[in-house]
Structures are given as structure tokens and as C-alpha cells.
């Protein structure tokens, strides 16, 4: 039987092994009794004795643990309590998350002096309170055990501590004096901090011939150079997706990783929301080779090889009437797509936007010409304020590496870059590094620092002062939320000292700079408090365009050679360019498309898998089972530029049959391979392979798509996927329709399910909520919490998942545990494919505890550890739970999680988990046993111990805090639209939360006034009465999408509350 929505091929085809696995949903072995095999308790070797041993031991242990004397606990107050700190009350400081060139204005939640959570700053007009997964997770990096703790210099092969900064400064002064007239080069990631740039300029002035090279691991040189050719500025403009009715993206993953995804998601969401009864959505065309997050959100998606990007751009330009001859394109579907995109752009002059993710200058020049044709300049593309997220020019970097190798660089200062890992020819860089004095400011012993002669770690951004100018004119301030944990020094302070500045402390320099700039100290303090300094009126203007470069670009593009197999090197929303590789929250975050954790892999279409491995996954159910059921996946060797890597294959529909895709950011490994665990960290250890060596330098820019050779290796490698853990069993859980159909008959999208609900009622009964069950109805006298999730605006970016982890102390379990279905995420994003097999549509559905008012889990708990509150919460009392897991078995949404291990170090016996170290578990599950990492825990949320069930609590600690505040202020309006962590993190406002008993609340209005026609509850027909509702997806496309609809069905208005 073919299914409408499917998560994997087995489910699609209803294969035998798949049906078997749905029956056997919980496949865990009983760990301590593992030698039982399948024989049952009585037939096992010495079963009775073992049983008695365990019984006796646990009784004795419990008795000993319980009868020990109560420990004497100390309560040590401050010596002098700071005025602004009340223990137990969180303080919030505005700051800026910076990560290379990325900058997001955020609010740091600081509890008792420790930053524990990042939230978006709503005062920023750029990100408007949105965040992404990496920003949410970055708070854990602060407590990373691999951070360097003091300045060091190399003594032979080993680093040894330099006892004071003064002596370090003296050593450096000596070294700098010795280089003579050779240049000093400062190699950094993109820097847009005004003060830092000024300090760098002052530093460079002290050292003649010196220069500053900015290097981005994933570069945007192509755009910068193209814009220089077309607009005379080596810069990237601001984009306004919110002004665009038609968006055409050529390989640009602007919702996931391209340039400023949070800003763009926020803008994209504006026209993705159905406002009122009729839908008027933007139209999103996407052309790409491999399925990306943005592509999966597109209305219409077309497949092509990356080498064809330029040709497509050219064809589009020609169709729009530009001065270009349309090249011949063989693929009819692609031609149709270009025609449709051109027609839509033509119909929406001044409200269209074309973006390209290509790093090829020529492609970007053509894209600029297209945007000029459709009147985007000044409307959706703004030159009044340029984007400063990426400024690296690839040729500068290549020149630097050459200079280093010829001995023309006196000293190399590296800040926030790791070229040994991310530079395509890292061997050459390493050789060059040996020929110069190298000083690293990087915070950890990464691949590059390991080879440097000096290391003076800079602060984490949560410990720093600073500023950022993500878009020119728009300043975002950084202020420290904690004292430096280690003996580190701000990079800027080092530069000030080494350039002999009279102000040798960055904090003072920073304050002076902004006090002068803003006019007064008051203004400076207000800027720090707000976190942003922005112009009163938005800076919007057109760029002066010249078409001079177009002809040459068109010629070059038309002659681009195409390969038999091409690779797309992409970034994952979790891992980015790899600097967060030791962040276990991000490593365990499933990729939105493949749902794989802890690894990168070769993403491949079913068609290519058939030719390479002879696995006919679509038609041969036996082969599909062999491939899918086991975590072990076949491995291929991918070769490009004479460098090759071996990676497992993940078969994903929606990839071009001649294109494979590999994520960068994985495979971090120390030069001394045995030190990886110690230097790079336990999370990065053995996670994937490094794909940067496949990057190709074409003479001008780095190319992240190139021709490759692939070979079967005959090995397998396990991948830990989460999506195969829970199945829908063919129940309808998603509803979608197209914009035209929705506007013609808004009620039709849910007509079928609403009609079905009526048939479930006994004759004469009217109210489904009250009469649909034999259980009594429980009133919610005061507050009733409810959540609304809009499938239209959920892009699958997974910021909410990490926000939930940070807020609720959700455990990291490691790859091996994920592989046996022990993942602990309270909130997951289910990805469903639907429609055409080669190029399917994708629906993302965030799935969390639905807080059912008639909850199946509550009835089966033998100890009433899970029960219902008078505010509609499905409560979970951990200390009451005895771990039967009946509730998880009975939950139709599969959102309950069981603590198989003591993942949080909550055990009352210290080091109780030590014997488990080794093959069975990944090292990372022991992370919460060290005091440094534990500092990230939210003290308002219990850490769960081994053997108890847990699940989403609707962030009850936030609700309790909100209610307390409302009671203190005597204002019930304060709880109207409270925010859970997921809701707050969402960059598109897809998740809304509030008190649905309050008719003024957003969720009440969505359910009962604004979106009645799209409002559905998952598995409503089971009468679970969820408190989470979803809004059906509407796509702006002419294709047939979603369920067959019964026309003419009259929708009965029913009050959901």
C-alpha cells in the first residue's frame, strides 16, 4: 500500500521488516541481564541466582544509601552581595552572539552569576527576537572543558604555560623585534566590530608592511567580487524577503545557513503566514542539486547539477528579456521551472528577489543583472545598509598561504580561524605555518593552534566586551555576562598592548569609543541595556548598477564544464562550518532532512544508489529493508582534487540523480590523532569526516561544488538516525492544500477529518469534547494552557529543539544510544515526504507532548506519576515514577522519553557510571559528571535520574514564574501570551503559546477566530483532546498537494478551546 506521507522508504512501501518493526516498537535489551538472550528468565544461565543477586544488592544498596547520616550542607552567602543580584532571581543582559561573521542580537539569561540560556533580542530590527540552533547552543561552549585555561608557548613539541600575561607580552615583544621588515599578518574570520577594526588598524600602523586578511571557512567571495563589478562596492547588500512576493533561489539555503538565516527566516515568515481567512502567500521557487532546508520549504523545487547554476541564471535572465542568449537546457522539467519562475517574476516587478548560493563570481554577476531586470534594487535589495556577515576574499587567503611558504610572512596572528581544518590545502598551510612566528588567539587547542608557537586564548563572547555591526549602521553591543572562567585575555587587549597603545585595556577602550560616539555615558549605558544602536529611520537606497561585466560573465558561464557526478558541499543548520563541533547539543541535533545525528555522510538520490550499489530502494522492498533497518550503511570513497574521503551513504529522495552532497563541519581531528579526545573534545571525537579537502579553488574563489569520482568501498559504517524511531502507522496527521484550493473553499482542507469526527459521536450527542468519551469532563477553572503550531511557517530550522534542550536540562545520550532509540529530545521535528518520488514535497511537523486533556498515558500509570493539572498540563512527577514505561507505550504521539542511564550525573552515588565507560556508550554521556559542564544546567528544572520517564512540560517553570509575577502584579493579562522556550526561539513565530481561556490571547484567536479552517489536532479522532493544535499547510503552487478533498463539505464552526 502506498502511503500519502512517509518518513522513510520502508514506510512508503509498507515492507515486511517495516511492518515488523512497527509491532516491536521498543526494542531495547535489558542491559544488566543481557546474557538472557531470547530464552526467557527461567531458561537463562543461572537466572534465579542472578535475580536474587540483583534483588539483594539493590535492597542492600538502598538500605545503605538511605540509612547513611544526612550530610551537613553548607549555605555560604556572599561576603559583599552585589546590588543587582538576588540569589534565585535571573538577570537578563542584552548582548550579541558572534560566531565568525554571524551576529545575532540576544538576551543572556544569567542565574546566580552563570549564563544559562540565550534568547533573541526583540529590540533588534534585524533579527527581531529570532535565534537559531547554533546561537541557542552556544551557551554550552562557554563551559566547554576543552577551552584553554592560560597562555602558553611551545617548548619543543609540547606547550607549556606562560605564568603571566606580562611575561607573555615580553616574549612577543622580543619576537616582533626579531622579524625585521617582514610583514605581520593578522588572519581572522570576518570582523565587523567597529572597535576591533579600529584597534586592528592601529595595530597594523605600528608594524609597517603588515596586513589584515579575513578568511571565511565557507566563503562569499563570489558575491563580494560580483558586487564590486556591478555596484562598485565589495560588499553584500541587505535583502528584504518580506518585501518579496516571488522568491527564486539558486542553491541559496537562506533559511538554513546562507548569510543571515535568522534575519531571512523572520522576513520569509511574514509572507508565509496565512493572515485571515484567505491566503496570500509569497511564491518560492527553488533550484538546487541536493535537498536543503530551504529547498524543502519551497513551493516549487527543481533539480539541477551545481555546474548548471550559471546556465539556469542565464536562461532566467534571457526569459526576463535581458541581454543574454538563452542557452540550451536539456532537462524539460528545468525549462518549465525557469519559465514559471520568469513568468512569476515578470508579473511581480519590484516585488521579486533572486538569490544564489554560488560562490562563482560570474553566476553572481548574472544574478545581479536579473535582480536589476525585475526591479529588485532598492525594493527587495537594499544598498543603503550593506551586510557585513562575510568579508573574506579567497584570493587574499591563497596569496597569504603562498607568502607563508616562501618565507615572506614575519609573524602570523590567528584569531577565530582554523585553516588547518577548514582550508582546502591544509598541508600547504601547515608547511607555511612552520616558517613564521605563529600566535593563536583561538579559545581551544584546535588543529591550527596545535601547530602554532604561541597560544593566548581569547575570552568566550559571553565573557567579553565588544560590539558588532552585522549591517552597516546597525550596531549590536556585547557585554560580559560572567567573569572570565579561565586565565584568558581579550584579543583586542593583546593587540592594544602589543601596539603600545596608551589605553591598554579593551574594556576601557570600548567604553571610551562608544561614550564619545554616542555623546554621553548615559547614552552608552542605554546602548548596553538595549543591546542595539540603530538608525531612527531604516537606511534604504538603490545601488548604482553597471552592466559592464555581464557579457564576459555570460560567456564564461555558458562554457562551464559539467561532471558526470558532482558534489555539493553544504553546511548543516547544526554544525555550520565546524567551529561548534564539540558542542554535543548540536551534534545530537538531527539534521532536518536526513534526521541523522553525530555524523556527516554522502547524501544520494535513490536513482544513484541503484547505479552505485544496486540497491533499488523504491521498488525492491527486500533491499530497502536491508538498507534501512540496520544502522550500518554502505561506504563510498569520494575523490576530488586528488584528495579523497570515505563516508557512508544516506539515500534521500529529492536529490538530483547525478549529485551527491556532503556536509562540512565534521571530522575534526588533531594533528596528533591520539590527542583528538583531549584537544578537540569528546563530542567532536569520531564524528564524521572532514569534507573541506574537496573544496576546489578555481583561481578566483573557492568552489563548494565540484566534479567528483565515487567508488564503492565494500565497508559499512553505522549512522544514528532518529526519524525511524516512531511511525505514524498510516494515521492521518498532516493536512495540506494549495493556495488556490484553500481560497476557493477554505473549509475543505479539514472537511474530511471534521466529517469523520461527527461520525464518532453517539446518536444525539453533540459535543465531541464532552460526549465523545465515557470519562468525566474536568473543567479548567482558571487558566488553560495551549500551543498553536503553524505548519506553514515552520521551516524545520530546529532552533526550538536546542532551546528546549537548554531550558529543560535535556540529556545528551551519544551516538550509540541514539542508534538504539534512546534519544531524549522532548521536542522533535518530524520530517515527512509526500508526492513525487524523485522530487518530493516535505512537511515539517514539530512534535512534542500534546498535553492531552484525555491522555492515554495517564490512565495506564500504575503509580499516578503522570496525571493532569487543572490548567491542562499533562504533569510528570519524576520522583514518583517507577519506570514501567507503560505511558510511553500508550502514547500515540511517541513523545515520552526514558532515562536508560544516569545522563545528568544525578545519581546519589558519585562515579556510579564509571564502569559503563568503554565500548557500550559514547564518552559524551558522562559530560554532566564534571562541574564545569554542569554550570549550564537550569536550576529551576530537576535533573532526571536513571529509570524515570520524562517529556515536554510546556516549560512549566516558565509558566509558574509567569503566574507568580502576574499574581504579584495582580494582572491576569500577564499570563495571556507567555512564551515557552521553543516558542521564544522560533525565528518565524510558528509556535504560539498562551492561556486559551483568555479570549484576548493569541492562541485563542488563532483557533477560534483567525484560522478556524486550518486548525486541527493530531489524531483528534482518538479523543485525546490535545492542548497543542496545528494549522494545516498551504502551499502556493499549481500542483496537486495534500489529501483528496471533498468539495462542498460545509464546515461546522466548532469552538476549540
Amino acid at each position: 500500500m502506498k502511503r500519502k506521507y512517509w518518513q522513510n522508504f520502508g514506510e512508503l512501501n509498507g515492507t515486511e521488516a517495516f511492518e515488523e518493526s512497527t509491532k516491536n516498537e521498543f526494542q531495547e535489551d535489558l542491559l544488566p541481564l543481557a546474557d538472557l538472550d531470547d530464552k526467557g528468565l527461567l531458561d537463562a544461565k543461572t537466572p534465579r541466582r542472578d535475580f536474587l543477586k540483583y534483588l539483594g544488592f539493590s535492597t542492600a544498596a538502598a538500605a545503605i544509601a538511605a540509612s547513611c547520616e544526612m550530610p551537613v550542607r553548607k549555605s555560604v552567602p556572599f561576603l559583599q552581595k552585589p546590588d543587582d543580584l538576588i540569589p534565585g532571581i535571573a538577570n537578563y543582559y542584552a548582548s550579541t552572539y558572534v560566531n565568525g561573521g554571524d551576529a545575532i542580537s540576544i538576551i543572556v539569561k544569567q542565574r546566580d552569576g552563570r549564563p544559562i540560556k540565550i534568547e533573541g533580542n526583540e529590540m533588534s530590527s534585524i533579527t527581531k527576537g529570532g535565534t537559531n540552533a547554533q546561537a541557542q547552543a552556544s551557551v554550552l561552549d562557554l563551559y566547554d572543558t576543552t577551552r584553554l585555561r592560560y597562555p602558553m608557548q611551545k617548548d619543543g613539541k609540547q606547550f607549556k604555560e606562560v605564568t603571566s600575561f606580562d611575561s607573555f607580552d615580553k616574549i612577543i615583544a622580543g619576537q616582533m623585534a626579531s622579524i625585521g621588515s617582514k610583514p605581520v599578518v593578522l588572519l581572522t574570520s570576518t570582523i565587523h566590530s567597529p572597535t576591533t577594526l579600529q584597534i586592528i588598524a592601529e595595530f597594523l600602523a605600528k608594524y609597517p608592511n603588515s596586513r589584515h586578511v579575513q578568511y571565511d571557512a565557507v566563503s562569499y567571495s563570489g558575491m563580494l567580487l560580483a558586487n564590486e563589478a556591478c555596484y562598485g562596492k565589495k560588499a553584500i547588500p541587505s535583502y528584504h524577503f518580506d518585501n518579496a512576493k516571488v522568491i527564486v533561489s539558486l542553491d541559496a539555503d537562506f533559511l538554513g545557513t546562507w548569510l543571515s538565516p535568522v534575519e531571512f527566516s523572520k522576513q520569509y515568515g511574514v509572507n508565509r503566514k496565512v493572515k485571515g481567512a484567505k491566503a496570500d502567500l509569497n511564491r518560492h521557487f527553488h533550484f538546487e542539486g541536493a535537498m536543503s532546508l530551504t529547498g524543502s520549504n519551497a513551493d516549487d523545487r527543481y533539480l539541477h547539477k551545481p555546474s548548471e547554476t550559471g546556465v539556469i541564471a542565464l536562461a532566467l535572465l534571457a526569459k526576463l528579456g535581458g541581454t543574454a542568449s538563452a542557452p540550451a537546457i536539456a532537462d524539460a522539467k528545468l525549462v518549465k521551472g525557469i519559465d514559471a519562475a520568469a513568468a512569476a517574476l515578470n508579473a511581480n516587478k519590484g516585488a521579486g528577489l533572486v538569490v544564489s548560493g554560488s560562490n562563482d563570481v560570474n553566476v553572481q554577476i548574472i544574478v545581479n543583472a536579473i535582480n536589476e531586470m525585475i526591479g529588485a534594487n532598492g525594493k527587495t535589495i537594499n544598498w543603503g545598509s550593506t551586510s557585513n556577515y562575510r568579508k573574506g576574499i579567497d584570493a587574499d587567503m591563497v596569496k597569504l598561504v603562498n607568502d607563508m611558504n616562501t618565507g615572506d610572512v614575519g609573524a602570523l596572528l590567528l584569531y577565530d580561524v582554523n585553516p588547518i581544518y577548514s582550508y582546502t590545502d591544509s598541508k600547504k598551510f601547515a608547511e607555511g605555518l612552520n616558517k613564521t612566528i605563529s600566535i593563536s588567539f583561538n579559545p581551544t587547542m584546535d588543529e591550527t593552534t596545535e601547530l602554532c608557537k604561541y597560544s593566548i586564548p581569547s575570552h568566550h563572547w559571553l565573557e567579553s566586551w565588544g560590539d558588532a555591526e552585522p549591517k552597516s549602521g546597525y550596531i549590536s553591543m556585547i557585554q560580559p555576562a560572567i567573569n572570565p572562567l579561565f586565565k584568558t585575555r581579550a584579543f583586542q587587549t593583546s593587540l592594544l598592548k602589543w601596539s603600545g597603545n596608551t589605553i591598554a585595556d579593551y574594556e576601557v577602550y570600548f567604553k571610551n569609543y562608544w561614550t564619545t560616539k554616542l555623546g554621553s555615558e548615559d547614552a552608552y549605558n542605554i546602548a548596553l541595556q538595549n543591546g542595539v544602536v540603530e538608525p531612527a529611520t531604516p537606511l534604504i537606497s538603490e545601488g548604482a548598477f553597471t552592466n559592464a561585466a555581464l557579457t564576459e560573465a555570460a560567456t564564461k558561464v555558458a562554457t562551464t564544464k559539467s561532471g558526470a557526478v558532482e558534489v555539493v558541499l553544504y553546511q548543516k543548520v547544526s554544525m555550520g562550518d565546524g567551529r561548534h563541533a564539540n558542542n554535543p547539543w548540536l551534534q545530537e541535533l538531527p539534521d532536518p532532512i536526513s534526521k541523522v545525528t553525530w555524523d556527516n555522510y554522502v547524501m544520494m538520490s535513490p536513482a544513484m544508489a541503484k547505479t552505485v550499489f544496486n540497491i533499488d530502494i523504491l521498488n525492491n522492498s527486500g533491499q530497502a529493508d536491508d538498507y534501512e533497518v540496520h544502522p550500518e550503511k554502505p561506504v563510498v570513497k569520494v575523490t576530488a582534487n586528488g584528495r579523497s574521503i570515505e563516508l557512508p551513504v544516506m539515500i534521500i529522495p529529492g536529490n538530483h540523480p547525478n549529485v551527491i552532497a556532503i556536509a562540512v563541519g565534521y571530522g575534526r581531528q588533531s594533528n596528533d590523532a591520539g590527542k583528538t579526545l583531549e584537544y578537540i573534545g569528546r563530542s567532536a571525537y569520531e564524528a564524521g569526516k572532514n569534507a573541506y579537502p574537496l573544496v576546489n579553488f578555481n583561481g578566483t574563489t573557492f568552489q563548494y561544488a565540484t566534479e567528483v569520482k565515487i567508488e564503492k568501498v565494500g565497508k559499512t559504517y553505522p549512522l544514528a538516525q532518529t526519524q525511524v524511531h516512531a511511525f505514524t502507522e498510516d494515521r492521518p496527521i498532516i493536512y495540506e492544500t494549495s493556495q488556490a484550493k484553500f481560497n476557493a473553499n477554505p473549509a475543505a482542507v479539514l472537511g474530511e477529518v471534521n466529517a469523520e469526527l461527527k461520525t464518532l459521536l453517539a446518536p444525539g450527542a453533540k459535543d465531541y469534547v464532552k460526549d465523545g468519551t465515557m470519562y468525566p469532563y474536568h473543567e479548567k477553572p482558571g487558566i488553560k494552557w495551549g500551543m498553536s503550531i503553524d505548519l506553514n511557517t515552520c521551516t524545520g530550522c530546529s532552533a526550538c529543539v536546542v532551546a528546549c534542550i537548554a531550558e529543560n536540562n535535556v540529556s545528551v545520550v551519544g551516538k550509540k544510544e541514539v542508534a538504539r532509540y534512546h534519544d531524549m529530545h522532548w521536542l522533535r521535528i518530524d520530517r515527512y515526504f509526500t508526492g513525487n518520488m524523485e522530487n518530493p514535497d516535505v512537511v515539517f511537523q514539530p512534535m512534542l507532548c500534546q498535553h492531552c486533556d484525555n491522555a492515554p498515558c495517564e490512565n495506564v500509570c500504575p503509580v499516578a506519576a503522570t496525571n493532569h493539572s487543572s490548567e491542562g498540563l499533562n504533569q510528570m512527577a519524576y520522583n514518583r515514577c517507577i519506570g514501567t514505561r507503560y505511558c510511553a507505550n500508550n502514547c500515540p504521539y511517541k513523545v515520552r522519553r526514558f532515562n536508560w542511564m544516569d545522563y545528568t550525573g544525578a545519581d546519589s552515588f558519585p562515579n556510579n557510571q564509571e564502569p559503563l565507560r568503554g565500548a557500550e556508550f559514547n564518552e559524551v554521556i558522562f559530560q554532566m559528571n564534571d562541574d564545569l559542564t554542569r554550570m549550564v544546567l537550569n536550576p529551576d528544572v530537576t535533573v532526571r535520574s536513571r529509570g524515570v520517564m520524562e517529556k515536554c512540560s510546556f516549560c512549566v517553570q516558565r509558566l509558574q514564574e509567569g503566574k507568580l509575577e502576574a499574581k504579584k502584579q495582580q494582572d491576569p493579562g500577564l499570563v495571556r501570551n507567555l512564551r515557552t522556550a521553543c516558542s521564544q526561539a522560533c525565528p518565524t513565530n510558528a509556535i504560539m503559546f498562551g492561556n486559551v481561556n483568555d479570549k484576548e490571547s493569541e492562541v485563542y484567536k488563532i483557533r477560534n477566530v483567525e484560522q478556524v479552517n486550518r486548525n486541527f489536532y493530531v489524531l483528534d479522532q482518538l479523543h485525546t483532546l490535545p492542548n497543542v493544535n496545528y494549522l494545516a499547510k498551504v502551499r502556493n503552487t499549481d500542483r496537486q498537494v495534500g489529501h483528496q478533498e471533498h468539495h462542498g463539505e460545509v464546515h461546522e464552526e466548532k469552538e476549540h478551546s
Binding site: 553548607k74 549555605s75 477553572p781 509558574q960 504579584k968
Partner: protein, 425 residues
């Protein structure tokens, strides 16, 4: 016995009545007392110099009543502008009077009246009369039960012997009666009783594990709440200010202690005697505080900060021993109870103002929490009078039920106070 109780009850209610009448006739002074205790008592005493001057006799010293109003509202400003204020500052520096701009004129009047009328209480053996009669009659009932059980046992024995005799008389042949210690019924009853009693005590003991009622650890400094909160009547919130804002009441930091103890370097009150009969040298305990604070009592200054760590040399925080320990899986919020629930500290901590060293007054068990939540009424909003906490205006169902008489009051339990996730998350 009952007559004595009736007499006692009458006497007691009469006493209460007299007390009420006496105090209600003196409303303003009582008001002034309360204001004095919350606002002034941490630095001033009515009749003695403290961190600040004795307030009695203010009218002879201060230029005018108006001056007093201005001074209280903004002392810093007065020091800068007014000559008398400046002399006051010179005398008492480095302490400077805290500003109380929120105090209204009539409130200040009430405080001034209170300090003028103040007479020190006569200290002597408190005649607080009869100890509270114990309501716990379980021992009595227990003894009664045992006596009754014994009587029943004897009667049954007698009965069976008599029956044997009468049977013998009537010629019915019966075996020798089985002695009670071999009688299976008795043995069974005995075993069951033992099981029940033993089980009760085992479970009771197990439940009590980890509970610390009456826990009274020895603290690094013999700090007497009786001296501070009782005799000197410092408001609880002066030191434990977190109780109204935060989940933690917070143990005060050393600088809070030093606010007063910069001036008070001797203990001159009633002798302090520990439970075990040893006497405590209050002045020596204050010296311990000085050691922690890094304060030189001779020079009347903090030690210099020669090692540049931001605190006086030799200073260190005081490692108090925590008395009230809740398990990690319990969320308790002081401000919820103090600010919203308007509970007194004493409800949970006992008569803390009479405790020399603090001990745990209640067992802090879940049952104890729940009982209070079941019984305590919330400050429910009244739509007609506008009284009560407006937050509760959204509880429509309860408003209807109150109106129709289905409910007579709303307790914490009604609004969800006995649900798991109010305290466990």
C-alpha cells in the same frame, strides 16, 4: 478536671478581651510601632543610641518637625544643605541615614509619637501562664486499648473455662482446653498484630528517613535570632530580603551584618545560655564576625586590600550550616508564600524570634505542605467590592460557584495547589 478547664477557658478569653480592648484604644501608637519596626528598628532604638541616634527626645534636638520630614525624605540632600544635618553626619559617619521618601507625614507622626511614648519593657520572668494543654491523647487511648484487650482476653478465658465447667456438669465430653499460647487463633491474632504494629513503625521510620525536624546544627557563629529578631525586633526581611523577591529567602551577606555591627561591638543584653547550660559570650561572637568581615574593631575600619582581590584582607564569607534542606526535586518559592500568599515567617519556621540558635520547626514533609495548601484560603478576588488579588478574576467557575453557594471559599488546593507540577518539575 473539667471544672478547672472551664475556669481556665473563661479566664483566658477574658484576658484576650482585655488585651484587645487595651490595644484597640491605641491604634495610632500601634501603627507607629509597626512602622518603626519595619523601617527604623534596624538602625535606631527609641531610647538608646544604636547604629543611629536614639530617637526619643527628637523634638529637643531637631530644629523643627518640618526638618524631620525633609530629613527622612532625603538625608543626603540635607547633609549637603543643612547645618544641623551636617553635624549629625559628622557625628555618625561613615553611616548615613537611609532615605525613606515613601513615608507619609502622618506615618512619620505616628513613628514620632511611638518613640516619644516609648517605655522600655520591664524584663522579668514572663508570666505567660499555663502551658498549652496537650491535645494528643493517643497514649491514653493506647493504654485504654491495651487494658480493654486484656479484659477481653481474660473474659474470653473465663468464658471458655466456665463453659468447660458447665459442659462437664452436663456430661458433655470435651477435650482439655488448649492453652492460649498454643491456640492457633491467638497466635494468628498475635502475629497479625505484630505485623501491623511492626509494619507501621517500619514505614513510619522509612518515611522519616531524611527528614530533619528539630535539626539544630552548631553554627560557625553563635547567632541568636532571639537577640536580633526577638529582643531587638529587627524585621525578618531586613536580613532575609530575598524572601519577598526570590525563591530563596537568602542568608544575609556579611556586609548586611556589618551595617549594624560596625557600631555594635559589644553584647550588653541578657546573658545568653545554651540549651546545654553553657553560657555564650556575645561579644566574643561579634569578634568572630569581625574576623570574617575583615574588620578591625580597634581602628574601626576594614583591613586594607593589599592583595588587590577586591575584598579586605583576611575576609571570607561565613560558612553557615544549612538548617532547612528540601530535596532537589522540590521547587519552593519564598516570594510566592510571603508576597502572594501573605504568610508569616513563623507559619513554617516556628517562633523564630524566640529561638537562640535556629532549629527546624516542622518536618517539611509533603503531607505537611499539602495539608496547608488544602486549608489555606487564597486572597480571592471579589468582583463586587474589588477586594482581593485581581489575578483571580479569571477563575470564572469559582466566581459562579461562590455566588450560587456551591463553594464558600477558595483554597490553594482549588486553584491547583495540590497538583504535582506546582512543586515538582
Amino acid at each position: 478536671m473539667s471544672r478547672i478547664r472551664i475556669i481556665f477557658n473563661k479566664f483566658f478569653s477574658g484576658f484576650i478581651f482585655i488585651v484587645l480592648v487595651t490595644f484597640s484604644s491605641n491604634v495610632i501608637a500601634a501603627d507607629g510601632e509597626a512602622l518603626f519596626k519595619t523601617n527604623c528598628a534596624s538602625c535606631h532604638k527609641p531610647d538608646k543610641d544604636f547604629s543611629g541616634p536614639a530617637l526619643k527626645g527628637w523634638s529637643e534636638r531637631a530644629p523643627s518637625k518640618d526638618w524631620v520630614y525633609k530629613w527622612i525624605a532625603n538625608p543626603a540632600n540635607m547633609i549637603a544643605t543643612d547645618a544641623y544635618a551636617k553635624t549629625l553626619f559628622e557625628k555618625w559617619k561613615p553611616s548615613i541615614m537611609t532615605a525613606f521618601p515613601q513615608l507619609k507625614k502622618d506615618e512619620i507622626d505616628a513613628i514620632l509619637k511611638y518613640v516619644d511614648d516609648y517605655t522600655p519593657p520591664t524584663i522579668g520572668p514572663q508570666a505567660n501562664g499555663q502551658p498549652q494543654g496537650s491535645d494528643d491523647n493517643s497514649l491514653l487511648f493506647g493504654i485504654l486499648t491495651i487494658i480493654l484487650a486484656l479484659i477481653a482476653f481474660i473474659l474470653i478465658q473465663v468464658n471458655s473455662n466456665l463453659r468447660k465447667l458447665s459442659d462437664d456438669k452436663e456430661g458433655v465430653i470435651r477435650g482439655e482446653p488448649i492453652p492460649f499460647y498454643r491456640n492457633k487463633s491467638y497466635l494468628m491474632i498475635g502475629i497479625l498484630t505484630l505485623f501491623a504494629v511492626g509494619g507501621y513503625f517500619t514505614i513510619d521510620g522509612a518515611i522519616g528517613l531524611g527528614r530533619q525536624k528539630n535539626y539544630q546544627p552548631e553554627q560557625p557563629i553563635y547567632y541568636s535570632h532571639k537577640v536580633h529578631a526577638g529582643i531587638n525586633q529587627i524585621s525578618c526581611l531586613y536580613c532575609h530580603g530575598g524572601a519577598q523577591d526570590s525563591k530563596h529567602a537568602n542568608i544575609p551577606s556579611v556586609n548586611v551584618c556589618m551595617n549594624c555591627h560596625m557600631a555594635i561591638d559589644k553584647y550588653e543584653g541578657e546573658p545568653i545560655v545554651k540549651e546545654d547550660g553553657k553560657s555564650v559570650n556575645g561579644t566574643a561572637e561579634i569578634q568572630k564576625l569581625y574576623a570574617y568581615a575583615g574588620w578591625n574593631p580597634v581602628a574601626k575600619a576594614y583591613n586594607p586590600d593589599n592583595n588587590a582581590d577586591g575584598i579586605p584582607d583576611g575576609a571570607s564569607p561565613i560558612p553557615w550550616v544549612r538548617v532547612h534542606n528540601l530535596p532537589d526535586h522540590v521547587y519552593f518559592n519564598h516570594s510566592q508564600h510571603i508576597k502572594v500568599g501573605k504568610q508569616q515567617c513563623q507559619t513554617c519556621h516556628g517562633n523564630i524570634q524566640e529561638m537562640p540558635e535556629v532549629y527546624q520547626f516542622t518536618d517539611l514533609s509533603m503531607g505537611w505542605c499539602i495539608n496547608c495548601h488544602r486549608e489555606s484560603k487564597v486572597d480571592f478576588y471579589n468582583h463586587e467590592t474589588g477586594e482581593g488579588n485581581k489575578f483571580y478574576s479569571i477563575y470564572d467557575k469559582f466566581h459562579k460557584d461562590l455566588k450560587s453557594g456551591k463553594m464558600d471559599s477558595v483554597t490553594v488546593g482549588h486553584i491547583g495547589g495540590i497538583e504535582c507540577q506546582k512543586c515538582h518539575y
